[in-house]
Assembly symmetry: C2
Homo-oligomer: 220 residues x 2
């Protein structure tokens, strides 16, 4: 799953996390209307809490809100997926560039070690680690950029949408070993402090990933 280092303080936090998970996992289906009263009875909290949770979901682009009408879970579409990956390409490309500039030698070494361990596990046939490893890799690059805007937009926002597409469109997909090679090349560029190359490789990595998903969509 997603590494959950965010912890719920208030009741609204908890409700937000639960709702977000239910939406990403498809328990609450795409396009579904979110009734405040209904959810408040279901989750056993007041409407104010549900309202705040829904507002936060809206900032993640997981739901869309209309004044005096209500909120609906975002509709998944091929165009939406393309747009999502266009933004990922821009932001994560920059994140890789900044990671090459700002990550400490220790952080880079840790990331290299991570790749090794994931590679061994995947080689041993544990397909679970493919997804988890990919997620972990991208998280480290983004946080390595030390850019608070990049971190919040990607980790608090877009990544949940990415996961939603993956889960609901059944993206377990191959592309395992090739993706690993791409990860390895990116980390090498970062280790060499080659900002330009790191950005280019990350952008191509995401572009390939998008093409792969699009191909599946069209075949289905």
């Amino acid at each position: 799953m997603t590494p959950n280092n965010e912890q719920a303080i208030t009741s609204a936090d908890k409700t937000f996390f639960q709702l977000r998970n239910d939406i990403v996992e498809g328990v609450i289906p795409s396009g579904c209307k979110l009734s405040e009263t209904e959810l408040s009875t279901k989750y056993e909290v007041s409407r104010a809490v549900v309202r705040e949770a829904i507002n936060r979901l809206a900032t993640c682009h997981l739901v869309e809100r209309k004044a005096n009408v209500g909120a609906r879970v975002v509709a998944l579409s091929p165009e939406g997926l393309v747009q999502l990956y266009q933004v990922r390409e821009a932001l994560e490309g920059m994140a890789a560039r900044l990671a090459a500039r700002y990550m400490s030698d220790g952080e880079i070494a840790a990331m290299q070690g991570l790749l090794d361990s994931h590679f061994n596990k995947v080689k041993g046939g544990e397909s679970y680690y493919q997804e988890a490893g990919d997620v972990d890799f991208h998280y480290r690059i983004v946080t390595g950029s030390k850019n608070s805007h990049l971190i919040s937009v990607l980790i608090d926002g877009l990544y949940h949408l990415v996961r939603m597409y993956r889960v609901q469109l059944g993206m377990a997909g191959p592309r395992v070993t090739t993706a690993f090679d791409e990860h390895r090349h990116i980390v090498n560029a970062i280790a060499n402090r080659d900002e330009e190359l790191a950005e280019i490789l990350m952008r191509r990595h995401i572009l390939y990933s998008k093409n792969n998903i699009e191909k599946k969509l069209n075949h289905a």
Copy 2:
């Protein structure tokens, strides 16, 4: 001012716009604590609407919220400005690329006309049009990308922070004619449907702009 095509439906909308403007313009100073009770009496609305407004400000990164403590207006810093422009470079670069791909011939022609009229007005000495023209130009590129994520992150989010830095650090600045040339080159690339060049030029344009601001900050 900012072209305000967003209209307030609910009371929370109105309060949000007022608060946002007061923060950007510095009426509520950077770093200031936002008391819910205080603001609710000042703006003559209930605490619930102030709360919702503050939450929305938090999603714009104009205030920072801590559970059980409250919200403070974001602190402006040289590092924050650098990070802001790093993200702008990535996102607006991609926006220019997509604008070259998706903008209609009519939209491009309109943008060229806009540049002409702004050039004439600035040549006539109306310095107000420098800022307004720059804002308008960047808005058109972003909306021209037809990418809803780019549009919302930039226009609903980062641009208000950009304006806040401009206003409060006194960025009226020269760089008028050179910026105009850069705008012209970018539009030409878009008109030629040269995605690669449009992105590169936009990124350099924003990079120059950042360097210019940094220079001023260091001199002050």
